[in-house]
């Protein structure tokens, strides 16, 4: 899990929702294989910047490079094809289809997605079994194996977050953007999630973790950046950041006890 070159380069990005300035000159980099924690108070712009990395929004000014490629105005599907996978702050699943289908969709490319091939199972069946096996394994890791052949809509809020993580694993990402992965997940399962994410780290996947739970961040991230009011306040190890008086003022003042 050595740290490589810069993979993601967010350069002076700004964005506003009508009159609300969500991002105001936000810059940071993430190196290949690194796990970066992104913390900050509610409304700091963390979700907005994550969304932007994945192509859901496009910067008003500034730009975003991924592996040297400018993705500022790329579509979601294009960025996904570069190997960026994300989870959502409000878990987002296909609720009317099986848990297994949700997990299996994440893998790409799939041979049987070509129109003419789809009619000949022999041409894609081996890959289907392979993906199904991967889906079953990751869903089992997040303890949802009982639910594999139930509708994703029956899952509880916390279970949905777990399934999102399993789905991301099936996607074999190069970079994974996680928006509050442990929000609403019970403490015992948090340990399971840490181990899932450690496995990502060992496989060399680059992680960007947005999270309010600092002990979770502490267990996974060597480096964290702190966001406030649409820009980066500071960065460093969690301890360094905690010691920063500006951070204490803007964010940790009331939360430091939790950590």
């Amino acid at each position: 899990m050595s740290i490589g070159d810069v993979l993601l380069d967010v350069q002076d990005v700004s964005y506003h929702f009508g009159g609300v300035q969500a991002l105001a000159g936000c810059s940071f980099t993430v190196h290949e294989g690194e796990t970066l924690g992104l913390i900050g108070p509610n409304g700091a712009g963390k979700t907005t910047v994550g969304e932007m990395i994945c192509g859901g929004r496009h910067p008003a000014t500034g730009r975003i490079l991924f592996g040297g490629v400018d993705i500022s105005h790329a579509a979601r599907w294009q960025i996904a094809r570069l190997g960026v996978v994300r989870t959502f702050q409000m878990a987002r699943l296909m609720t009317d289809t099986a848990v297994m289908e949700n997990a299996m969709l994440a893998r790409r490319p799939q041979r049987g997605e070509r129109l003419w091939r789809s009619f000949f199972p022999r041409l894609w069946w081996d890959q289907e079994i392979e993906i199904a096996t991967a889906a079953e394994r990751t869903v089992t890791v997040v303890t949802l194996q009982e639910k594999l052949t139930q509708m994703a809509g029956v899952l509880s809020g916390g279970q949905r977050k777990l399934l999102e993580l399993a789905r991301a694993a099936v996607g074999e990402p190069r970079m994974l953007v996680l928006d509050e992965p442990v929000a609403g997940v019970n403490p015992r399962l948090r340990d399971d999630m840490v181990s899932v994410l450690r496995a990502f780290q060992e496989a060399g996947v680059t992680l960007l973790i947005v999270e309010h739970n600092l002990s979770f961040i502490e267990r996974l991230c060597k480096r964290v950046i702190v966001m406030d009011q649409g820009r980066i306040l500071t960065s460093g190890t969690l301890d360094e950041v905690r010691a920063d008086p500006r951070v204490a003022k803007s964010y940790l003042g009331m939360n430091v006890v939790v950590a």
Binding site: E113, T138, L148, S195
Partner: protein, 341 residues
């Protein structure tokens, strides 16, 4: 009596084909095509003008374009292809930027335009009078003994095409492409987050459904031998939608059952009402029955008679994986999960 049954089975087969095509658009991919029947009409007219032959050779005057005498299987394929081209053109106009609800409304508009043009521009497909004498394959077979043999052969053609369409739709449903179409139907953002293009997927479903509509429309024209604009009033699309909802949206088998229930049981059942009733009342009763059936379905069984076979699909996949060992520890996978265990 034999004639009646043969006719019913033929109609059932053709309507099944039509509902299956609609199912691929709406049930599989969530593309609500309110002008589906317009594509059926395009298929019917294409088959007519490519099998009627030159209009100079007609026994009575009717004016139409093209005028070929293609063999029937070729004419059906051409009809499907013409519908695909129409679907592509149309999607260029309306699908690019439109959300599904606006798409539905603008497709109604497109259907109306085509209906009006077909009716008023007499030189195209003979206007409101419509085309007649559309040849039916093998209709001369056994004509001496009453023509039942020809009817049977055509019924067999209908059944073969319907069964083929059913199996193609089932395979599509089970395939990875079917999964992508469902992702697009459920939540386009999820589909795009995992690298699928929503527009391309919607277009794929739109074109497959249009092809089937074209072939089905061609069979319809051959079966009745005549086709005019009254055959593709917008109401027809709603009947197909009703059939799909009653049978079970997105289930290929449900589409078959829905087609039979709505187009045969109810449409034909109302014929056995006392003949003393006003004929307008009979027609009205038929529509009212279908409306009632729709309401009852939506109230008591919204998933339809045969719900989406999604869970069954994955149960079957799991049993085929020979991985019935939920208690075994997970093996290290591509992401090497399991270091804490």
């Amino acid at each position: 009596m034999e004639y009646y049954i043969v006719t019913l089975v033929t109609v059932a087969a053709i309507e099944t084909i039509l509902v299956l095509g609609f199912n691929i658009q709406f049930g599989f991919a969530g593309v609500l095509n309110f002008s589906y029947i317009t594509f059926v009409a395009i298929g019917a007219y294409t088959t007519a003008v490519t099998t009627l032959g030159s209009h100079q050779t007609q026994t009575f005057p009717q004016s139409y374009i093209v005028g070929l005498s293609l063999p029937w299987p070729v004419a059906l394929l051409v009809s499907g292809a013409v519908c695909v081209v129409a679907a592509l053109l149309l999607s260029f106009l309306v699908m690019q930027r439109l959300r599904s609800d606006y798409l539905a409304i603008s497709l109604i508009g497109v259907g109306e335009i085509i209906w009006t043009v077909a009716g008023n521009q007499t030189s195209l497909v003979n206007g409101w009078t419509g085309l007649a004498n559309i040849p039916r394959p093998y209709s001369n077979l056994g004509i001496a003994s009453g023509g039942l043999a020809g009817d049977l052969v055509f019924m067999a053609i209908g059944i073969v095409v319907a069964v083929g369409t059913f199996f193609a739709a089932s395979r599509l449903y089970k395939s990875p492409l079917g999964r992508v179409l469902r992702a697009v139907r459920e939540d386009g953002v999820i589909a795009e987050t995992f690298g699928r293009r929503v527009l391309a997927a919607r277009l794929t479903a739109f074109c497959i459904g249009s092809f089937i509509a074209g072939v089905g429309g061609g069979l319809l024209a051959m079966n009745t031998g005549a086709y005019n604009p009254n055959a593709f009033l917008p109401l027809e699309t709603f009947l197909i939608l009703a059939a799909l909802i009653v049978g079970g949206t997105s289930s290929p088998f449900g589409a078959v059952v829905g087609a039979i229930v709505v187009f045969i049981v109810i449409s034909e059942g109302t014929r056995y009402l006392p003949s003393s009733l006003n004929p307008d009342l009979v027609g009205g009763l038929r529509q009212a029955t279908i409306g009632l059936l729709l309401i009852v379905t939506l109230r008591f069984r919204p998933q339809g008679l045969f719900p989406e076979p999604n869970l069954r699909l994955y149960r079957r996949l799991r049993s085929r994986m020979a991985l019935a060992r939920p208690l075994a520890p997970p093996a290290p996978g591509p992401v090497g999960v399991g270091d804490s265990r």
